[in-house]
Amino acid sequence: MSQEHKIRVLVAKPGLDSHDRGAKIVARALRDAGMEVIYTGLRQTPEQIVETALQEDVEVIGLSILSGAHMTLFPRIMELLKEKELNDVMVFAGGIIPEEDIPELKKLGIKEIFGPGTPTETLVKFVRKNLPKRI
């Protein structure tokens, strides 16, 4: 299995909130599962996140937000990803996001939204299963 390709994931914290407990646990769990994880640190603007995704050539972005600004910041991130032609990057998100916002966020192209209480194993399986196919 040494030939196995290492999945590259960016775990990002958009917005001004500083609740990084979840993001760090996700980063560590994905890393322990053998993925290459880049964690942005706090308070990243959508521009910074997309720039990092581009520079680091990631296949997956995990967004974590608990401030309630997701309906402003997520659409902007998805828009910028399109602009930079990063359409094949798979995006998932987590944090405090009301269920009623989820359909709209999925419409924007966010693959899945995970709420509190999600086991890390679920995330690992999800990322592996939904990995974008790259040529």
Binding site: G15, L16, D17, S18, D20, R21, K24, I25, A27, R28, A29, R31, Y39, G41, L42, R43, T45, S67, G68, A69, M71, T72, L73, I96, P98, E99, E100, G115, P116, G117, P119, T120, E121
Partner: protein, 560 residues
């Protein structure tokens, strides 16, 4: 607390019980786990007896309430005299909306205010800053200028309530606004009562809402302590906070140890100003979390008081008993709330509140059951407040002081929490103090490791979380009403702020900001100039920008 002969008899009898009675029972009813631990990784014994507290000296280790070492409480009458302050942390949307929520809570029997600010305010940006986009009024109330504070406190006389402000980086700005409002209401500064959280150290390794680097941040903290000591005798200039340390993932012992170490650093920084320890230490206050393990939490609160008293007496040679007392505010734990079966959270909050009250807190915030999903609705907040009122008036636990004292288990655990915290304190001392511990990422790593371990225990069901990894409801449908903050809040707030900037004497603001720059440059206490700036309607963002210019901005040290 027992004579030697009696202890030996008990030890002998315990051995007999373990060899004769117990094995038969273990055979037919084996224990649920081979070993039991609390969150601090302290092994919990099967049974506690006088043997476990045999070295305790009642007068030296427990004593009486309001006397050294304060294990049994800081007030001589405790809740028989006055119940704890029921102080619900609240704030959302505009100043008008939060003013309404304050009045609602006061009307429902709340006895003190506690303001939650939004992220732009907390991180030192005005509501119209590009980074504030989408964040205004979301997680707290938006405050950018004195105008917002005038609306926030409309109809609330500052000589009748005390106000706690959860603010750190820009704490000086918000305290200055409070003083300015007091002046406007004609309330003497000597009458202003309340608390600024003003604990920057924990920001660098736990809550991580930092603006400036550690040293200038602590300079600002100390400015507030010094100013309050000299001018605001009823103000608690600092609330040294373990809550965020715990929420970030620390266990109870780490919460206790790291908080007390921060306290040590603030005593040192204030002593450097030439103040005497007995002048300022009596106004120091603390803030802890309360989690689900009832006895671990009770032991933590009791150990915290005793350990702080010893630190103040032995390390800082305080003379006044009040310099050694630890007054605390407690909040039930946000991170133990579940989004699944949210009503279960009411029961968790009840247990956590009980721990806080049995632990002798001075003030309590109870979380609302819907907080793993959104900001609390009015109904959820009222219910949370009712938990406190039922404990206060119906449970009977407030009728005697420190009712759990003398429990072999709780006393043994209190001792162990204190010992383990002391070990951490010595470790940080040997490392060279809290600044080095932050720079090395030691505290960050300790917390991240504990958080990850806790999550792993839940993931593998070693730790049961009702409704999450056990007793879950398949396809659970959540139908509780959620509070929403609309985008209109941001528009209204930005419009108000821009109107303030247009309507003020801008030449005057410019002059005061130049003065502030000079004060910061020459390392003077910044409080007097910031108060003047607030009265001239300078904004929070403008003040923080001047200080960013002098002190620079903090760059996060990332530790996973």
């Amino acid at each position: 607390m027992f004579d030697q002969e009696k202890i030996e008899e008990i030890i002998k009898e315990k051995k007999r019980w373990e060899q004769t009675t117990l094995p038969r029972w273990v055979k037919t009813r084996p224990e649920r786990q081979i070993e039991f631990y609390n969150t601090s990784q302290i092994k919990i014994d099967r049974i506690y007896t006088p043997e476990d507290v045999k070295n305790m000296d009642y007068l030296q280790d427990l004593g009486f309430p309001s006397e050294y070492p304060f294990t049994r409480g800081v007030h001589a009458t405790m809740y028989r005299g006055r119940l704890w302050t029921m102080r619900q942390f609240s704030g959302f949307g505009t100043a008008e909306q939060t003013n309404q929520r304050f009045k609602y809570l006061l009307n429902e029997g709340e006895t003190g205010l506690s303001i939650a600010f939004d992220y732009p305010t907390i991180t030192g940006y005005d509501s119209d800053h590009p980074k504030a986009c989408g964040e205004v009024g979301r997680c707290g109330v938006a405050v950018a200028s004195l105008k917002d504070f005038e609306i926030l406190f409309d109809g609330i006389p500052l000589d009748k309530v005390t106000t706690s402000m959860t603010i750190n980086g820009p704490a000086a700005v918000l305290l200055a606004m409070y003083v300015a409002i007091g002046d406007k209401q004609g309330v003497s500064r000597t009458m202003l009562g309340g608390t600024t959280q003003n604990d920057m150290l924990k920001e660098f390794f736990a809550q991580k809402l930092c603006i400036f680097p550690p040293k200038p941040s602590v300079k600002l903290v100390t400015d507030i302590i010094e100013y309050s000591t000299r001018n605001l005798p009823r103000w608690n200039p600092i609330s040294i906070s373990g809550y965020h340390i715990r929420e970030a993932g620390a266990n109870a012992v780490q919460e206790l140890a790291f908080t007390l170490y921060d306290g040590i650093a603030y005593v040192e920084s204030t002593l450097e100003r030439g103040l005497n320890v007995d002048e300022f230490a009596p106004r120091f206050s603390f803030f802890f979390a309360s989690h689900n393990d009832l006895f671990e939490e009770i032991a933590k609160f009791r150990a915290a008081r005793r350990l702080w008293a010893k630190i103040m007496k032995e390390r800082f040679h305080a003379k006044k008993p009040r310099s050694m007392w630890m007054r605390m505010h407690v909040q039930t734990s946000g991170c133990t709330l579940t989004a699944q079966q949210p009503l279960n959270n009411i029961i968790r909050v009840t247990i956590q509140s009980l721990a806080a009250v049995l632990g002798g807190t001075q003030s309590l915030h109870t979380n609302s059951f819907d907080e793993a999903l959104c900001l609390p609705s009015e109904e959820a907040v009222r219910l949370a407040l009712r938990i406190q009122q039922i404990i206060a008036h119906e449970s009977g636990v407030a009728n005697t002081i420190d009712p759990i004292a003398g429990s072999y288990y709780v006393e043994a655990l209190t001792n162990e929490m204190e010992e383990k915290s002391t070990e951490y304190i010595e470790k940080i001392d040997n490392m060279g103090g809290v600044y080095t511990a932050i720079e090395k990422g030691f505290l960050q790593k300790e917390i991240a490791d504990s958080a990850f371990k806790y999550q792993q225990e839940i993931d593998c069901c070693k730790r049961k979380l009702v409704g999450v990894n056990d007793y879950a409801i398949a396809n659970e449908c959540r139908t509780i009403p959620l509070l929403r903050v609309t985008p209109k809040v941001e528009e209204e707030q930005v419009a108000r702020l821009q109107k303030v900037r247009r309507g003020r004497d801008n030449a005057m603001v410019k002059k005061i900001l130049a003065q502030l720059h000079d004060d910061a440059d020459k390392d003077r206490n910044l409080m007097p100039t910031i108060i003047e700036a607030m009265k001239a309607y300078a904004t929070l963002g403008e003040i923080c920008d001047v200080l960013r210019g002098v002190y620079g901005e903090y760059k996060e040290l990332i530790v996973i």
